[in-house]
Symmetry: D4
Subunit: 149 residues, 8 copies
């Protein structure tokens, strides 16, 4: 079985590539999916593709909806949803993804640093694994898929 794994959250570091690389090294049969991680594209896709808006609200609104076609489809097809909370920004869309995945009954793995532990307790509470570094993800996936520690 090929596993579908969605990588949600922080888009300013290369943690997704790191996980993919290590998973590949372990020959794990995974199809990783992710949001569009080009920040500018993600912000402007709505107006670029469907016409400009004067108000920032609608500019963002159009973009958020176009992005949702991709992200929600991928979350719904995912066997596992991994959500990373980074050090900066509000990252409400990461928490939103976690809630969305939780309501669909998807297994959730959360990555965040110690400092955010209290603020993320509800999300950690539904997660099936919580780690503080993306480096710990590939070994978890290896265990889940291959049964090896």
């Amino acid at each position: 079985m090929k596993w579908n794994i969605y990588l949600s959250g922080e888009i300013h570091t290369n943690w997704r590539e790191e996980i993919k690389l290590h998973s590949q090294k372990e020959n794990l049969d995974i199809n990783f999916t992710e949001p569009v991680t080009n920040h500018e594209f993600s912000d402007d896709c709505g107006i670029t593709l469907t016409g400009s808006e004067e108000k920032k609200f609608w500019h963002d609104h159009k973009g958020a909806k176009i992005n949702a076609i991709r992200t929600r489809t991928y979350i719904e097809k995912a066997d596992i949803v991994i959500v990373r909370f980074g050090e900066k920004y509000k990252q409400w869309n990461a928490a939103f993804d976690a809630g969305y995945a939780a309501a669909l009954g998807k297994p959730i793995i959360v990555i965040h640093q110690e400092e955010h532990q209290h603020a993320l307790k509800e999300i950690d509470g539904v997660a099936l694994a919580v780690v503080d570094d993306p480096i710990k993800i590939a070994p978890i996936l290896k265990y889940i898929i291959d049964g090896k520690l």
Copy 2:
């Protein structure tokens, strides 16, 4: 029909009471539900009810789960979920609730100030109404329930 409306999010102001008061004045047939808004209770319910923990992670974990029995039940029974984002804190559980409600297909109304517009664009994108002040909620509910502006 009695409407079940869940009031999620910020717990440091009395916005819930305000909405209830104005809804009552309009004689709207609503059963409002909400999380436990006593911050201390919410944080400590897990250890108080099921035994203390040395690690903060498990202290919070136990509490988050006990709270989830209440919050998730109420969200699942809700006809409308209203989520307020305040000015402070990460409020990831509010965003999580929004995602959870969205995946269940619940109509969502979001309350937040202008300054958070960009950070909340994904959540605004699934909302059926977005306002910047709780004072605007009761008239919306009046229109939805009674059809009057």
Copy 3:
């Protein structure tokens, strides 16, 4: 059992009142629901309740979403959805409601005149009854609920 029946579609004649009146005469235990049928309110609720918009698209968009909170909730709670297509206008929202109800597995009754028969064949195809006059609805409801012709 009290039956929930949603009356969708045409809002320019008093067909809903007619159905309610005849159903009441037959003492049928029905909770009728319907969209906001005040045309002006329905068009302007969005901007009135959540702020004005310059563009007609967003003006309508906001209104459509507020109205959806009511209509979709009622359709989802309905035991039967009755959709009337009138003589004028595009009435795409009536057809949309029919599609929405069909996907939810709701029993659908359609009211339309002979002239629209061909254009409505797909909707008639999923309906469990098709009639050409609202006057025929109450006897159908009486039969369904009381088992009497």
Copy 4:
């Protein structure tokens, strides 16, 4: 991942071929599906395949149901439903498809000209993208699938 995309609505121009052509040029991994677009076949399939009817209602009824086997299966398997409203006819089945897709939680993209904006506000209200020309679809699909603008 191969995306399943259903092209609903107007059948009198070659907009579907246009979208397929441009998507192919971009090497997008898409399986497009669509209703039977041969108007005559679509109208007469019921009686041709299962026996003639004297009444136009049953003639159409039989056809609508045979067509529904195809269209509803494709909509249910679709990752995205694109609905085009043309300039002529009532096109109630397009609006019905949109409602059906909406209730199933499918991402919807709507194509229509400015003149129909007000009449389509409810359908635009659930759509994740609204454009006025089929030429704008392929770039949207490219962004969703490949993340490129």
Copy 5:
């Protein structure tokens, strides 16, 4: 809790009244529902309510659909579906109801005589109780509801 129990199947004897009577004697809190059991009404409701048909097929078709509004609604709301197969006729609609209820996960109780055992083995196979006489139903309901033998 009031139990909703649907009584499907044979309509030529008064077995439903018998079950209701004995359940009432035991003060069981049950809301019994059933199809329209007036055979003539059941056969002719379609044409009486929505217009006559020359072909027997459409005469019956219209009736079957009107009846389905009632029967399917009741089956979907039922906590238990009891299906009786009598001695005569094909009774395919009883078997259809059993299949419909089974797919919805409803607990099914079947009543039939020994002679039909082999032909009903698939339906008995999904039933949670099989008895040969309606007289045995009330004690079963009493046990389920009151826990008393």
Copy 6:
């Protein structure tokens, strides 16, 4: 897309092979599934595989359940369910399959002769096509899959 089509019902003629043959001639991309059509195997599989029973009821019960593993899995995976009612026997399991498929929202095509029309009206009422001869099935499938009459 490969279509999954389940062929339910009568097992005493070779109608399934006929449909498969004609579908193959038309190069239709179909994966046909069916119950075990060896009557003896179907009757005795339970006791052969899991141990003999003295009572006929349990003999049949065990067989019905083993067969259900196959039939229900295939019905749930089917895109279309075709049910044939033959001239003899009660065929309650065919009607049960139709009910099961209907509750799952599967498109149903029914094959039966004129004489059974009245007794099958409820099942015809949910079917999307009704024909009197298996020879008419392949052209229907060709139209649905290839859009050609």
Copy 7:
């Protein structure tokens, strides 16, 4: 809102009455449900109500199914499922109930003593609260329902 709470598991002590008593003292608005806790009735209901069996397997089988009508209905209607594992017996039906409730997404509270901790780790893993004594349940319910510690 009245909460439906199902009390599953051990039937040899009066823990259910204890929970009910304390909940009543706190005026909690709860409708408690439970399996038939009369051991003899529970074992013999099948043969008493639907006829004797020589084989112990079928004797038990009939009883298990009759009991399932009650237990599964109550679990499906429950807002919370509380499962107690006692000191003796295999109690596989308690673990089965926990699995059944988990798949339905019901909040689960588990009661068991320290000695069973390792053997129950999977069930504790899905529970939202784990306690070692029924006396701790009423305060949890009070917090969930009234928000008071």
Copy 8:
């Protein structure tokens, strides 16, 4: 069609390999899945992968959740769930899996020895086949998949 079959339960004998071997000999098209059957890995995966815990409860808790990512995904994708109860231990997770699978409507086959018959009556009651030896599984699968005894 390739069948997905999950092998749940007892992990101290090589019954899974036995079933796989015999199924392979029969050329059955099956993708068998199973929990991690290395007992030590299964117990320690949580702390090994996500950090050590002093309390045995959390040590086990973390492991149970990591294992659940694998087991629940496989059960949800399974066409058939086979559960073996061995001679020793409480095996509550096997019963939990059975309950979980039952609520999802999965066909269940149970393997256990005579001595556990009474204690497993509820689980046998939902199973579609019950056998006392793993050697009997491959012939059942052969019949289900190939229709041959």
